[in-house]
Symmetry: none
Subunit: 199 residues, 4 copies
């Protein structure tokens, strides 16, 4: 399906990065296409023109692959702006983050990985470290605002982070409301108000 014209060149005993890329691309395409249908490893392998073992050589399980496909898609999504103002920084960050998660392939991958994580401890670990990383970025943004004295002393940074990503995941997984930019802006404003309000 992916690259029909021309076989991939072998790379001998070295990992074939092109094959790895084809796998990730196929994974993302299938995630995007099949709406939550559940993507099979066989399908990914076939779409990438790859033996199944080549997938399992580099990714210990389907979850790892999906997470990588997701990270690939989410690359560069969260630059963590620093404009000197909590409100605008938050708005910029959450808007970008929501926009990234709105990408169909990214959204599908996030959802599938989250689903795997509920069954497979290994997937849970992967997802945990992925989210940990994202949390740290947002927390850094908040810490800079705190250092500038913008936040009320009562503000709980971790709880703020939980609220921001909580809304994201909640909407993503339940699907009761879209991840619009307006929603991101409203959430940013609300969190800024909460963080600056005196107790």
């Amino acid at each position: 399906m992916a690259d029909d014209q021309g076989r991939r060149a072998h790379t001998g005993r070295r990992r074939n990065e092109e094959a790895a890329r084809a796998i990730l691309r196929a994974a993302r395409e299938l995630l995007e296409r099949g709406d939550g249908a559940g993507v099979s490893v066989d399908a990914i392998a076939a779409a990438a023109g790859v033996g199944k073992q080549t997938i399992y050589r580099w990714w210990p399980s389907k979850s790892d692959l999906l997470l990588d496909a997701l990270v690939e898609g989410a690359r560069g999504l969260a630059p963590a702006p620093d404009e000197g103002d909590l409100g605008s920084d938050l708005a910029a960050f959450l808007t970008a983050t929501f926009r990234g998660a709105r990408d169909p392939a990214v959204a599908a991958a996030l959802r599938q990985v989250a689903a795997e994580a509920q069954r497979d401890p290994r997937a849970a670990g992967l997802l945990r470290s992925f989210t940990e990383d994202r949390r740290r970025v947002l927390r850094g943004l908040l810490e800079r605002a705190a250092a500038r004295g913008e936040l009320s002393p009562a503000a709980d940074l971790d709880l703020l982070v939980d609220q921001a990503y909580g809304v994201l995941w909640y909407r993503l997984l339940i699907g009761h409301a879209p991840l619009t930019e307006a929603a991101a802006a409203a959430l940013a404003a609300a969190l800024a108000r909460q963080a600056t309000a005196s107790p």
Copy 2:
């Protein structure tokens, strides 16, 4: 596994409520026991001493069963207090809600159902309506506070609800932090501050 001593009595052509209860009980036990291992319908049927068809007679799919097991466990958890004060109402509600979701069987069921919902549209619908119901309760609480004039005109009730349940689900599914009562209280205070702060 479940009811060793004594066979269940047949009830003729009427639904055997005792069997249904045994199924739910077995489901909850397996959810609780198998830490995220993924519970199979066959396992539930065997544990309940029940034919698989008896399960599918009353629940159209595994997700429906798990959701019922969950609701069974969560029964009465959300009384939506009305004490006349936003802060204490929110604290009471969130504390009770977090406590309910902390129950191992309830947590496991929520996680499994959420996982199913990412693949199966039917499960997604079920989860959606389940959460919709919970959202409505919390929104009612907020609306009453608004009617009492406690909220800033800028407060976005739906967004507040998303923040509250977002934190719950986010912690539940990612597992980076526990659903303690302290967390519930802190969240309640933060949301109250946000809702009452002037823009």
Copy 3:
């Protein structure tokens, strides 16, 4: 309501003999068709319109299935004649036996099972007991001749059996010469001569 040509009727909790028959039939057809190509379980399942698990429910491994397909095909091949004369009894038996083994499906099954038996101890056991059974029939024929005093006292019945089946298997597996009826007759005559010759 075993309706339209094609679908098999379910048999509920009982083994579906029709499905088993379809599996054996498909196995024999594929054995016959694919000249030694090696028949896959998936192919058999697909050809029989059956889930793979249904095969593995009744046959613990591919070898068992192939052996059954073979026995099915070889049914009634070895009536062990008793006409009161060693020469004609042997000729009749070997001719019938060779004719049976000349059937493409039977030959293919024999060869495949023999191949499996060289790797898989379980298959080896199966093949052993299959051949044991055939040996016993031929040995009975020889014993009756011995009881009639037709054999030299020096005749070694087991060795005669080994010679007869040895030629069969040797030709079958190496393929250097066909299992013609003339060959069976010549072998019968040679063995009779050997068995009756005085040391």
Copy 4:
């Protein structure tokens, strides 16, 4: 596994005979060790401390390698004696042949190659020419006896050869009886009797 002390010296652009020998040795060791388990090319390569390609450079397929390992082991086993007497010549030849095939590595190789031959036409061809060669030796022995006038005019030389090797292969592949020297002697005597008996 094979050569622990010291790496093999490179031979530059010349074929490294030592590597070839290590491969054959590893193959024979694994055949002997793994009781019918089925020896993989990867395992042989690893045991010989050799790249897989080095195997495929010199042997076009696994069967070729196994057959070579076998021939290596069976070297000099079949001198085709000529003592001027059918009985003793046959006994000497069959005893030596059975003894050779009793060697665990030789037996395993013969069995594995025979197994391959049932699936792979190339392996079938190899096995065929290997057996053809052995047949010719035994047939030569018989022809000399015939030239000496020892055989009955009714004797069918090819059928005698088939019986001798048939018993060998039959016992080897089915495993119902061992390839003892006593069996070889008995077989030789029986075949001599058959060949000399008047019709």
